[in-house]
Symmetry: C2
Amino acid sequence: MTSRSLVVVAFGGNAFQSKGDRGAAEDYWRNAYIAAEAVAKLVNEGYRVAVTHGNGPQVGVIAEWMMLGWRLKGTPPMTLDIAGAMTQGWLGYILQQAIYNKLREKGLIPGKVRGVVTIITQTLVEPNDPSFKNPTKYIGLWYEKGEAEKLSKEFGWVFKPDPRGGYRRVVPSPDPVAHVEIEAIKRLIDEGFIVICSGGGGIPVIEDRNMLRGVEAVIDKDLAAERAASALHADILLILTDVDYAYLNYGKPDAKPLKRLTLSEAIKYYNEGHFASGSMGPKVLAAIRFIQNGGKLAIIAHLTKALEALKGESGTWIVPDTT
Amino acid sequence: MTSRSLVVVAFGGNAFQSKGDRGAAEDYWRNAYIAAEAVAKLVNEGYRVAVTHGNGPQVGVIAEWMMLGWRLKGTPPMTLDIAGAMTQGWLGYILQQAIYNKLREKGLIPGKVRGVVTIITQTLVEPNDPSFKNPTKYIGLWYEKGEAEKLSKEFGWVFKPDPRGGYRRVVPSPDPVAHVEIEAIKRLIDEGFIVICSGGGGIPVIEDRNMLRGVEAVIDKDLAAERAASALHADILLILTDVDYAYLNYGKPDAKPLKRLTLSEAIKYYNEGHFASGSMGPKVLAAIRFIQNGGKLAIIAHLTKALEALKGESGTWIVPDTT
């Protein structure tokens, strides 16, 4: 890698909330500064950086707020695409200010970086994505059966029994295709900005008679990060989470951290079901796709070990077969 | 004006809500398409466009949601700067998609415009702005005195009796100084994008020991639009609202629409108190400042008459004295 390599960093939920946090504003800031420290270290080493992040808990909070407003005050709830846009503003702002302050503290702004900006990002999905026929992502509050049926009639929502009891709304999680705003994102990166984009996997939109239209769905943020990284011809996709490595037999006595995988090995382990769907699974799948689409290096590592991961001292490296 | 003049358009509340709307998502979309039509007409005439917008009702809705979540579920409320960031995502997304679709429908994208993007925007204010000592902007729910005192202790909020009864939180409305992200905004405009920025007047931040820090305040969106228009060296500041003109003696039998004002005339009428604070007042003040800072033309006009206003067929024109 050259010192000006472009790294797309995908932050997980721990960039905003740690275990035991009650989710207050000060918790968001404290965690965001840890994430910002990771970005600052990469910038200090000369890397160019674009940032994506998850939004699962925050979409849940907004869904809960909206439902309380509807029940108690009759305030109409916004749709899920709009709720996703709200989280992009919420989390983008916090990250953008934290990263800016960290870079300024370290003398990297002005200087190596021209500024830090958040772009509200729409992610195109296929209208015939199979997930639309089989929604599986739980979102928002738990309801009694009667109220679930009422809400289903009122808003057209789909409910399923939750394994933890009660009924919860389920929504589709379609595969991301492309980001509508990718050209603006690319230009700002080229001009020296750190760009925060594709927040929460992006706002899901479909093309409908030559028009964009938001849909009630959620997008996996790591799969969306891959779409951005590939479209930007990034050198590295760096997925930061709360474990040091992807593991074989994770959680079992013979669990084995994976330090370096070729593309073929990653595909083999993925197909063997070593990586849990909804957590490590999509991260490994995003890494596989990034390498398949021409990327040189994908890494899954702990939030606090971003630089060590780039140096090969921590994290799971996934590399092309020919390396 | 040349055909490539840059117009900064400031949308008022009616770009998202019309009289009688209950504030449902479909109301937002319907109104946003009317606003998008105005933008499309300007683009079709060859103007370059940047867009700002208000967020008063939406910050109120989010403040209400957060308070319900706190009361009923113990979910910590976010601070007002974060709530403002949420509205930038919410309204930016809706405007960005509506404008994109309108431009595409008219064959202006791809073509005259490269894309439509929303930049999450922080607005710098002075830490010693006098409004911090005398907060006056009502926000959120109405409370009984006892609960207001409880919330005041819990969150440090300031409450005042509302003329309509009960107690409401009041927050400062400091004067905007500059937008932190103005350089990124400028570059995207220069490269052919329509940029939505400074939503709700921007997220208020102060400089505190060389770091940015969000503050609990709201910023007048027209005064902030002037800061953007002046920094971008825009040719025209176009403030769109729900009346056709600024008036002398507004609402009285001898009310007189103002069609063309020199800077000196505008200042005279402003100082005489012809324009209501909190509605027409800041619009005229924004226009005055824009001309004082070198702008050539500021217009206050109705949302549906944007193009007529630029042609001089509607709206109040404010021009330099030397014109």
